[in-house]
Symmetry: D3
Subunit: 307 residues, 6 copies
């Protein structure tokens, strides 16, 4: 999110195009006072949307799970999103690339089953290079595995991307206690690691990529991109239950997410991973990804990171 | 929260007094897009606030747990809340009584530990007699125990009153499937019933009041009021793990909450409780409560329920 | 249920009185091929029923939970049960006392919700003194805590007395492996002991009676009788979570059940309880109970135990 | 089960061949009052038994787990079962095809380890086309995921096919509350879906068949048949933990069971699966299965469904 | 256990009295390579043992649970322990007071059931005032609630005081990450706090003392002393499930243990408890305890704390 | 461990080479009184170390997890271990082959984070052919699945090989109760089998090798050797959740461990596996393993088993 002049960005809001600075949420909207909303985020590379359809289909799976009717179909949502990019494209050069956010609330009314007037918004903002700056690519980020857990899928399945994420806020604070500024990794109630607060986690053991199955995590689109790239690079991928032991003793750890693609992690719970340097596979994946999108991802981060 | 003209109600919003219809949330506020907020609700009886201090102290326990700094202390929050009542008191007569809401978000910023500018709002709205109308007092409401669970306190302790409540929305939809319009009751991951989506649950067995302990529920102020009234009426109260069996086979079931105080429940999961009529203890408690607040609670509901 | 000539005993079966040896279950009855039945057992003292109403009320709680309609109300069931005793009273002297069984199946039909013709049976048989003979009262029985667990109340609450008890059979076999002929004690999935296969468990620690709460056990009528007797004898009773440690290190252990009332246990999991002799409180309870029912319980066992 | 004249069908019962209407269970049989029994069900196609040996081997695994000795070996049980078909073959034409049931109880005696005289029965009845009529094949059945759970395998492993299935009865009633007449799907205590009450569940996601592993389900013979057919049709199959999210958002859902083979499901928990029509893979499987058995499965259902 | 000259202290070791510096453990002793040992610790006040019998009885409960036979009975163990104090009493003045340790291993042999020659040791060492110095009494200690859990009582009941405590070591390291030098508090697998690594935890809420029940903790003798003192001081005590929320929002937090009796805690997980000062009840308990033992506990700590 | 003259064996102990009989542990070493140690065990074949590097790397993963610094690197540890073999090689002939043990404690000091002087020991002892004698290879060992559970990896991950193993001692005693002298198999808290007390468990079903994944077990080096041999022999291996049902109904069961390589199991929980004889795959694996190490494993056991 970071600091940017939101008045310059045009957003879609309930059928209208207005500056994002003018988008405001009614506190009587269930999306605010009941966390009754779902959302999605994509990014551009060189101003072109990436995996838009995959993201929007995931958004509609979230809607379907939550039984929220957006009154807009998948194709319309894609079209609006692309139009949002177009409307703001003149701002691209100064910020590098865009994030596109869609959010949809259930709207208004005391009873979920009788709610009306869902709020639909599509907005653009610059990628937040400040949160994942170039130093992290060079020397690796730090993570902390928190005692705050992912929601059980008996409460709300983490596969549903939604705004009721108080546990993520608590996990972030706890990670900060363990290792200042570190990125949190959560576990499920069975002792397995799950995901971060907007990113998935991978480890490398003996040349094999390992990551939690989608039981208690968001089915990350970047995670799925890594599956494709690994396949291309002939790297075996396993989806399985992983415990902190596996992370501490891995040859390599990295995270994946829409804004930063792949980020090497070199310290977890104050334990150095291997020799404490970013591993080769993370870099291989970043290179392969860069090739697919025709843009050197790390170079771009270097260029736009705050000095 | 029902239909009412929010432009007539004056609210406190970040230091200013404005019509509630003008209160709007910035979607970049963490309270919106991360569910990073806590809140509280009280009511008036005859326009006088009830248990204001207990509620505000609970609010500050929520803030303390979540490490949100509202920049306002307990006494100031009480004063603002009382002032909010005063500023809207001319509207009391037509609506019966007020609810007072406080909500506080962590404010703005990508990292929880570095967030700034918390949003603080205190608002007034009429009690929503439509959701809990007089018929429910006469013939009893219906409940459904859902498969959607309360959050584990390893994710976010339900004792923290906050807006990240997607599981409540799902539970409400599921209850509606089981018995249309019924009120949901959730369970914890151990099979014990917990609470509803804004109300606590009591059962009566052989003259003893039984209710879940506060392990996985909000420590309801109305629940605590029932403890006091029961003590006064020489009714024994047990806080213990209760299972659906206990509810189905109880002599009496009722819910408690700020807006409706005590509401008799006569059907749970399509099973009639005893003979299917509201029980004597719920009515005793309503009478005793009415006496304390100097207002016949049921009469007021009758007067303001939609015809 | 021991060796006895069931042709001499008259039973109520679907409205008729017939020799029990003629009672037969249609294998198309849901009670047989789906375990879709509930039941209850009482005993007589000197031929007089004991706690009949408490038992029958528990039976109707089971029916209500399982949504089985017996087509007979509580009073009728009591009357039939008393009549069954009367009809067989001439057999009392040779066997000491009677057990009375009621069982009710959901009847016939592929779908539970549309089943018809519930099977209702009330029968009499002699107390099975062979299973709990006088030696056990003198030197104490043996128990084994099994790895087979009580059903979770999310599957079927053990408070519902029903015939779907395959786990009880497995527990009995396992107990036999650990200590031949020993009585099994089960645990719940949280590591707490629950109950046996038709009896409740009590321990004594520093003069206090302790027994699992009714979370995962049948609410035993004999257990409740022990509460009453303890109250009378000024012995404190706690219902709480107990672990094997508590049992192994108790001053005294005993079981309670309808046929044998109170049975001292002196060995659990091959560990001797205290000095390995029946404890004073079990004997105190047996004496007090005997007084209430006007019959020396232990003497009767001694008289009717197989030599 | 349904309505059929059981006096016309000859059954094997403890060594004798008698009309099924004369088979009766002694209520002192442990199979009745302790749910102490295991069973198996097969079907014929054109009067020829299907996968008889696989079923009977599973039956003997159940016996071995429960330590019940049937006094009959696998081959004898197969022979008796085939003979049962033969003895009733003259009834085939009017009913389409047969189900064959075997059930075995532990027999008689108070202690499991010392029980004697196991009851062994093999019977024939017509396939119950009423429960899964042709409309379900054309427009799809409805399912509901219940809060009633499968037994933990720490109580009784669901891989053991037995008659202690009170939780199945409760699940069926609950499904009926959620969506009248719908088929229940249960979950395990970890939030994963398991199976129905006599059928397994499959979903299709991006062309891949997915179904729960056999941790907490019966190892369905029809499920295994679908594995074989999928292999033949080059459809990938994954056995993995699935949550309600996966079912709601699948491209296709279907159930498998001995009587109906493959049944398309188009609504789950009142959410339409995809466009609400039976999916192509279910139909492909039905066609491939029909070819293997030399009988058009759907046509047969159509022919024998009640009009 | 701090720096002290162990050659000056005489210890009982397998029947002999030798300088503690000469006590050595054979690495083939099961107590070393299998953690197969139990132990106990008491302290003196003014050189007189405190609650010796309670401790030794707990030791024998541990032995009984673990089925270790020490070849020594309770009275002998008490006598040896008192003798150990006597033999070292000349060292008392310079160190303030003593700790007495007993430990017993199962001895030698590959199979637990056939092990021989248990190792029995009773030793004396000075109280370690360095670990809990006077500053902690004045301004309060810090605690951190760790993600490392207490052992489940299905693995080894924490009521058994034994040396297999790797999880305690890990918890201590994690607490140090969260808040340097803080004392760890563990939780059970259900989200409830349990105990520290050798101390119990109490909180005060509205004048009531609350502490976890003994489900997953050592039954601390100091904890039990606090129960007695509270009774004397008319302070209500509740044993119940407590969550981190209860600790963070308590009016007062303190720990109890043999060496330090009662230690006020003012920060937990970097959250200040109330106003961040030691609470009145901890001090009241320290004063009452001091009176019982005839020694000002805090003064003694002040005198012997390292300057 | 067994009976052997430890004075003849030279061990490495904190930098020195001394007779093992002289190695002694200070009871103030955290390795003793806090179970704060990790260890490793290898064996020789014909006096040559087997998989030394794999074992030592696992040891260093344990150290890294526990944050113990041995002050010695992997290569040095290997060198010392090989030297230990050399120094004792003259004893090889009379005992067949050696076990090599490494153990490392955290050393001394009250606080884990500030501990100093880790104890490092490498020792040699003869393989204990008495515990796994030739009869077990010929007629198969017995196992018992215990109610004592493996530690949750939320307490201490079983992948960390350490000496805090009181639960293993308890499991061994319980197995002995169930079937005298049998080897225990533990389960996790979810009902899946895990491992024994120093060995892994495999089953064979329809020609496929199945074994628990490494979620809650030590990643056995022998287990991994079996994976390699199976690959070579074209036997499929699955790592998956297995329940007692799978073990009881397997075609074949065996255990793997460093001292005995592969040991056939023919009885589990008093249930005969298949026909009660060792299975062909265990023997195939033993033969293949023998070939790799150039020594007939079974012949060696036969030669050195006690007569």
């Amino acid at each position: 999110m970071g600091n940017y002049d939101s008045s310059k960005y045009i957003a879609y809001f309930n059928g209208e195009w207005i500056p994002y600075s003018e988008v405001r949420i009614d506190p009587l909207d269930r999306g605010f006072f009941l966390g009754d909303s779902v959302f999605e985020v994509e990014r551009t590379f060189n101003g072109k949307s990436f995996k838009m359809r995959e993201h929007i289909e995931r958004l509609y799976r979230s809607l379907s799970f939550a039984r929220i009717d957006s009154k807009i179909d998948v194709q319309e949502m894609i079209d609006i999103s692309e139009e949002a990019i177009d409307k703001n494209l003149h701002l691209l050069e100064e910020v590098g690339d865009f994030l596109i956010h869609q959010f949809i609330t259930r709207g208004f009314g005391r009873r979920a089953a009788a709610a009306v007037n869902p709020t639909v918004c599509v907005r653009i903002n610059p990628i937040d290079f400040e949160r994942y700056p170039i130093e992290k690519y060079y020397s690796g980020g730090h993570c902390a595995i928190t005692s705050i857990l992912s929601y059980s899928n008996e409460s709300i399945d983490p596969k549903v991307k939604n705004y009721s994420r108080m546990n993520f806020n608590l996990a972030e604070l706890e990670a900060n206690d363990i290792d200042e500024g570190s990125y949190p990794i959560l576990k499920d109630q069975f002792g397995n690691i799950t995901e971060g607060i907007g990113y998935n986690v991978f480890i490398v053991t003996d040349g094999v990529l390992r990551t939690p199955s989608d039981k208690s995590i968001l089915q990350g689109v970047s995670r799925s991109m890594v599956f494709d790239l690994a396949d291309q690079l002939n790297i075996k991928v396993l989806q399985e239950d992983l415990q902190p032991y596996d992370v501490y003793t891995a040859d390599e750890v990295f995270m994946t997410s829409t804004p930063f693609c792949v980020l090497p992690i070199t310290v977890v719970d104050n334990r150095k991973i291997k020799d404490g340097n970013p591993g080769p596979i993370a870099n291989q994946l970043l290179a392969a990804w860069s090739e697919v999108v025709g843009l050197d991802i790390v170079d771009q981060v270097a260029k736009f990171s705050p000095k």
